[in-house]
Symmetry: C2
Subunit: 441 residues, 2 copies
């Protein structure tokens, strides 16, 4: 399960030598969408219990005022800032997903890049370039680790994300090629996160870990830390020990094509694994005017990998509800607004009407269905059967995605802030951290 | 590969309910040996490059003056102190080993317990009790993860060590049973460390990671962090994802018997995997008056698992020499003092006489030989063949071990400090951190 190809060398070469001016406009455009989306979901998640707990710990530790910490009135050391901001940004599970790697690229990489940008006074343009390169690498490393890695129980957001976060930081810290290799080597030991945490505070914390550990790897490498030269792909390295697929084709056309461009943004405030089903069910509901009382049974068919992720059958909290096909289907059928995070409350889990409908939702799997798709079959009490399919990858048109992201940001932050965020941050006048501090606190 | 037995519950129950007064005298006695040994090797390792790099990073971050940091003139936050002190204590690879788990228990657990003791003003007695309980659990969790975990490429010092460090910290922070369970759950995501790092700065850093991440898990749990309830043994938890053996018998008689008592201290400043061979070769050398020029070939037979650990055939640095059967054998044959760390220098690796002898050392494996044993066969130029065996577990007599540990500490710190360390720290008048600050700085 080990290969001789110098994956570490390829990654380090790309991270150090790509020029900001040469990054394709379409990739930068998608980076801007992820950036404004990241700001909105991070602000929205900043007072979630897990974010408050982590912030509390590092605020008590104090230290040098290097970097912006969401929800805190003072700066903290970069590693601490990345830990809090990463955790807060994934607290609502409302951030972007890349289905090629099944990971959330922005929440691991952006907080690392942003903390280094704060610490070093990087320009917004270089920050965006580093964020793009880190996210591109997080996605490709996630693809290289592959489905075996993910299905065996690793949270690829944090595992691959740590390497991506390290590369974004390495770039902004101006590391040499050799130092950048060492940063990847260090990350081979600090990258982690198991899927047993799904549905607990552990999941968002993984994003903070990845951001902070990746940044730490770059800081240590900059000081001369020498780690395993092929800690990612070598013998007893990360891939070999963490059930990696070693799909070397994941690095084809690195630097030429930006697979990050296919990232999906979320338009429902629950686990991305439920979205295809939600879109299909909403389509049926609206098209046929289905009312909850008409329904005998709702059948949802998805890829079997989602059973361990978002199939909590009797959720007891708002957090668990986000990982429950049954509850998500019940909410949509009852016309609750699933784009709003407040919808996913503990109270709703005790609502007898919703729980009754949950009990009529049946989740099946089909290994042949795409991982980004779902089939929904609604059987009405009168015997009618209605079916719909949805595949999230159908939503690839950039203009349409931009419109939807901007609508989401507007709904989370209000029209005025959404506009300001776009013009100031996305277009490169201010760092996201400066904007967040000035506009929110 | 998952089990339903509540391992997390058993561990948390033991960590929270064991009373300091009920801990057996023999186990406390061995804890004291490990403690003075830890102080000596930590002070000796404090200026190794990896320790200096990590210290530099956290010193720049600064922060609250909670805990002693070896080699620094001021205190730092507890997580930072544990990171540095753990790294420094394993920098020389001269600390204790438990062969049942193949891990180094003290370097992960003691720095965590000590940082919390500093932060909270714990008594030396409670600190010793927490260190013992944390080390006992690190060893048992290492046994539970088993040989499959270790051989697949995980550094059990840091993987199992993170859980042990979390339990020592949880105890000293006064966590409830539920909070302690959550600390174990958090550690399921932050525990890591791959053997690809062996022979690099990554290996000692793993000890710092384990100490700091374990402490962090306890701090977060104390603030209400809710993690996977069975993150260690449950589905998609640490054991299932990290090639665990799930040897539940590792927890038999927990709290009644202290398997930690069988820990081995090191009397040569190189990888413990080389020691049995070193003892056997030294015995032959001294018994038969063997001189390097008499030797045709040295044959060393060990368990195959050591090939990936300490069989660097042509070491190029002092660090690599510590993981080289061939160089260690050459040094011993040439009467270099392998108990002194300065022996393992970069210069020696370029010594033509030593390299020549290295080339006459042959390493073989035998799956039937004990993991703690080695067979050495020396073939002389006159055709004579001499053989000797050594098993490290033969050295179990407590009085003899105490004598050897005290001699080692004396050789590292000098007679006066060694005596003071014993009376003040081992016997419980001062915390190790206070003694280190006052006696060394």
């Amino acid at each position: 399960m080990t290969r001789s190809l110098d994956i570490t060398g390829q990654i380090a070469e790309f991270a150090t030598s790509a020029r900001d001016d040469d990054l394709p406009a379409s990739a930068i455009e998608v980076t801007r969408l992820s950036l404004v989306d990241w700001v909105a979901v991070t602000l929205e998640g900043r007072d979630e219990p897990v974010a408050a707990i982590v912030r509390d710990m590092v605020a008590e530790e104090g230290g040098r005022k290097d970097a912006y910490v969401v929800g805190l009135d003072r700066r903290l050391p970069a590693r601490a800032a990345a830990l809090v901001n990463g955790t807060a940004s994934h607290a609502l599970d409302y951030d972007d997903t890349h289905f090629a790697s099944l990971g959330h690229p922005s929440v691991a990489v952006i907080p690392s890049a942003l903390a280094v940008a704060d610490m070093t006074g990087t320009s917004p343009k270089s920050f965006q370039g580093a964020a793009l390169i880190g996210m591109e690498l997080a996605v490709r490393i996630g693809q290289w680790l592959g489905r075996t890695h993910y299905r065996s129980g690793f949270h690829v957001t944090s595992t691959a994300g740590t390497f991506g976060a390290a590369m974004a930081a390495a770039r902004l810290l101006g590391l040499t090629l050799e130092q950048t290799r060492n940063a990847l080597g260090i990350a081979a030991s600090t990258a982690g996160g198991v899927k047993a945490q799904f549905g607990t505070m552990g999941k968002p914390f993984h994003a903070g870990m990845a951001a902070s550990n990746g940044l730490e790897a770059a800081l240590l490498a900059a000081k001369g830390f020498v780690a395993a030269p092929q800690g990612l792909e070598g013998k007893q390295g990360f891939g070999a020990t963490h059930h990696g697929d070693f799909d070397d084709s994941a690095f084809d056309e690195l630097g030429q094509e930006f697979v990050f461009e296919n990232v999906s943004h979320k338009f429902h405030a629950c686990c991305h694994g439920t979205h295809a089903a939600l879109e299909a069910l909403t389509e049926l509901r609206d098209k046929h005017g289905i009312r909850p009382e008409d329904i005998e049974e709702i059948g949802i068919t998805v890829h079997p990998q989602y059973l361990g992720i978002c199939n909590i059958s009797s959720p007891e909290s708002g957090l668990e509800a986000k990982f429950s096909y049954r509850m998500v289907a019940a909410l949509a059928t009852h016309q609750h607004d699933t784009t709003r995070r407040a919808t996913f409350s503990d109270t709703l889990c005790r609502d007898a009407t919703l729980v009754d409908l949950c009990n009529r939702v049946r989740v099946d799997t089909d290994p042949d269905i795409s991982e980004t798709a779902a089939e929904v079959k609604v059987i009405l009490r009168d015997g009618t059967t209605l079916t719909a399919n949805h595949d999230l990858l159908a939503q690839v048109d950039l203009a349409l995605r931009a419109k939807k992201v901007r609508a989401k940001v507007k709904s989370l932050l209000g029209a005025e802030r959404a506009t300001s965020l776009w013009w100031k941050v996305a277009l490169g006048e201010q760092l996201a951290s400066d904007w967040m501090r000035r506009n929110i606190g």
